[in-house]
Amino acid sequence: MATDIDNISDVTTGTRGPTKIRRPAERRRRLLKHALLILFGFIMLYPLLWMLSSSFKPSDVIFREPSLIPSVFDFSNYSRGWTALARPFHHYMFNSAVIVVASVIGNLLTCSMAAYAFARLEFRGKKWFFAAMLATIMLPIHVVIVPQYILFSELDWINTYYPLIVPKFLATDAFFIFLMVQFIRGLPRELDDAARIDGCGHVRIYWRVIMPLCTPALATTAIFTFIWVWNDFYSQLIFLTDPDLYTVPVALRTFVDSQGESAWGPLFAMSLVALGPIFGFFLAGQRYLVRGIATTGIK
């Protein structure tokens, strides 16, 4: 899509009479613009690049060297960081992965079910329920966390992953319901009607007709759920106090509090490991991310 726009603008500037004469100036302006954009991007990314290069530097060098290219490549920060806590770092990554994978499945399944009902079915109280659903998107977690904590401790769920996973199977991430409602509303209703004439019930229409067509919205949901849950610190900090159950963010926090200022090298190395999966999903799914923000944002 971006390339289309580029081409169009090139064509229009090319065909306009006066621009031909101004061409060198035009080109210089365009070059300047790119130079500024690249410079700005570089400044934006500088902290990240610097963290990457620092993760290869011995801790005492980090404080002396602002340059991006380490004078020596030293991988010991990674091995030291990996084993700096009570458990090796992959233990915490595995814990995070369990919660993330379960959350993604829960959100995909239950948010899409709710979205199908809101987008396609008629039922009593629909307007009110839909409004209530929208309102919960904006609800701060801080308002509900205390009673949730009490509820989960009554159930003996503190220091288990249930408080983090079960809500995802109860469609509590209303943002994704909204995203999918918007998407399903955009699908032609004739498809449902055709399936109904062929004798499909609502479950079959949902599963066989709507879900396959929703792949882009489902991808956006999966990627955002992954990133948000992987990054989530607040609820994991509150519901997990047993170090064996720690996830990556909580483990990193323990790391910074216990070793603190003396171990920046290993700390940076593990921070980068923690960000790794997000980079991966970002590179693989940025099309869906951008589209997801744009559609929920505007429509």
């Binding site: 971006a2 580029d6 613009k33 790119h34 954009l37 991007g41 934006m44 902290p47 990240l48 963290m51 980090i62 002396r64 602002p66 239950t110 079910m113 709710a114 199908y116 009902a117 809101f118 079915l121 008629e122 039922f123 659903m133 919960t136 609800l139 701060p140 801080h142 308002v143 509900v144 205390v146 009673p147 009490i150 401790s153 809500p167 199977f169 109860l170 469609a171 509590t172 918007q182 955009g186 209703r189 882009p216 990054n231 610190f233 607040y234 900090l237 509150i238 963010p249 990193l252 910074v256 700390l267 940076f268 921070s271 923690a274 970002f282 951008v290 589209r291 744009a294 944002g297 505007i298």
Partner: protein
């Protein structure tokens, strides 16, 4: 896909032709559809009751009690709210949070708008720039980035190293009460990418004919920006403003990590949410924490309402 969205059949629900079936059969069909809907919504209903509405009411009740988890809650009327009036740390938290929201959100949105405008005019490699600028938005709330920030703005951190290169003697930014909050404001501005993407999508929906008409009239670039782009973009500016204000009020992780959970130095990064956490899960004053949380909800709802009321004066919704 844009077309699919544009066609979104808002009307289809009412458009369905009234079937000429006997009345009884139609109502049974409707009943079946209703039953199916409740089935599809079953998980949502349970979640809404147990995870959302129940706890909202629960914390409203708890805000009138004293409760330490060990003994049953004890009704103390308005004492918690009375205490809030005199709680110096709460007032510090309010100052910190308001400063953060009202400085960082406008800066962030201005930067997002400027770059969206800059990128919109068919820049070659738009997708690459967009990705690079968007990346920090995904990382900004992570513990890892907060750790990075703590180092960058530390006494011996990156900023001071760079300042030393040009011969300026730096200072500990995160450890100084006057500057610690600024480092977190910088962090929030750094995540301008997601409002930028929304602005970019909005800019793309402005019909080119407006600009063509302005060209015919000989309007300057500035006039076009001020008279066409900005007015037509106001709904999106408004949307971003509401979203970012609500989000910024709830900032927690960054302040927690940078200050080591204390909100220091001298309460200069004591964000409201951090204070709620300290009262609730540090000293297990669940009743007081609930009162604080409810006040946050009221503040956020209040600002959102003000935003919507003020919007009538400056947001243009087509004609």
């Amino acid at each position: 896909m844009a077309d699919a969205v544009r066609e979104s059949p808002v009307t289809t629900l009412d458009e369905r032709p009234a079937p000429a079936r006997p009345k009884r059969q139609r109502s049974s069909l409707a009943k079946r559809e209703g039953r199916a809907a409740y089935l599809f919504l079953a998980p949502w209903f349970v979640g809404m009751g147990l995870i959302t509405i129940g706890p909202i009411l629960g914390s409203l009740y708890l805000s009138f009690t004293q409760y330490s988890l060990l003994q049953p809650p004890e009704w103390i009327g308005l004492d918690n709210f009375q205490r809030m009036l005199e709680d110096e740390r709460l007032h510090a938290a309010l100052r910190v949070t308001f400063t953060y929201v009202f400085v960082s959100v406008p800066l962030q949105l201005a930067l997002a708008l400027a770059l969206a405008f800059f990128l919109d005019k068919g820049v070659r490699g738009l997708t690459i720039y967009r990705s690079v600028y968007y990346l920090p938005s995904l990382l900004g709330s992570s513990v890892a980035i907060a750790i990075l920030w703590r180092q960058i703005f530390g006494t011996e951190g990156l900023i001071n190293q760079l300042l030393a290169l040009v011969g300026i003697q730096g200072q500990g930014w995160v450890s100084h009460p006057d500057h610690a909050l600024s480092t977190l404001i910088v962090l929030n501005v750094w995540t301008f990418g997601s409002p930028m993407v929304i602005f970019l999508a909005g800019l793309r929906q402005i019909p080119t004919m407006y600009y063509e008409a302005a060209d015919v009239d000989g309007a300057s670039g500035f006039t076009k920006f001020w008279r066409i782009t900005i007015p037509l973009l106001t709904p999106i500016i408004f949307f971003n403003l509401v979203l970012q204000i609500i989000g910024s009020f709830q900032t927690f992780t960054q302040a927690f990590i940078v200050s080591g959970g204390t909100g220091g130095p001298a309460d200069s990064t004591l964000f409201y949410t951090l204070y709620v956490y300290q009262r609730g899960f540090g000293s297990f004053e669940m009743g007081y924490a609930s009162a604080l949380a409810w006040f946050l909800l009221v503040v956020i709802a209040g600002f959102t309402a003000i935003n919507f009321l003020a919007a009538k004066r400056w947001v243009h919704y087509g004609d």
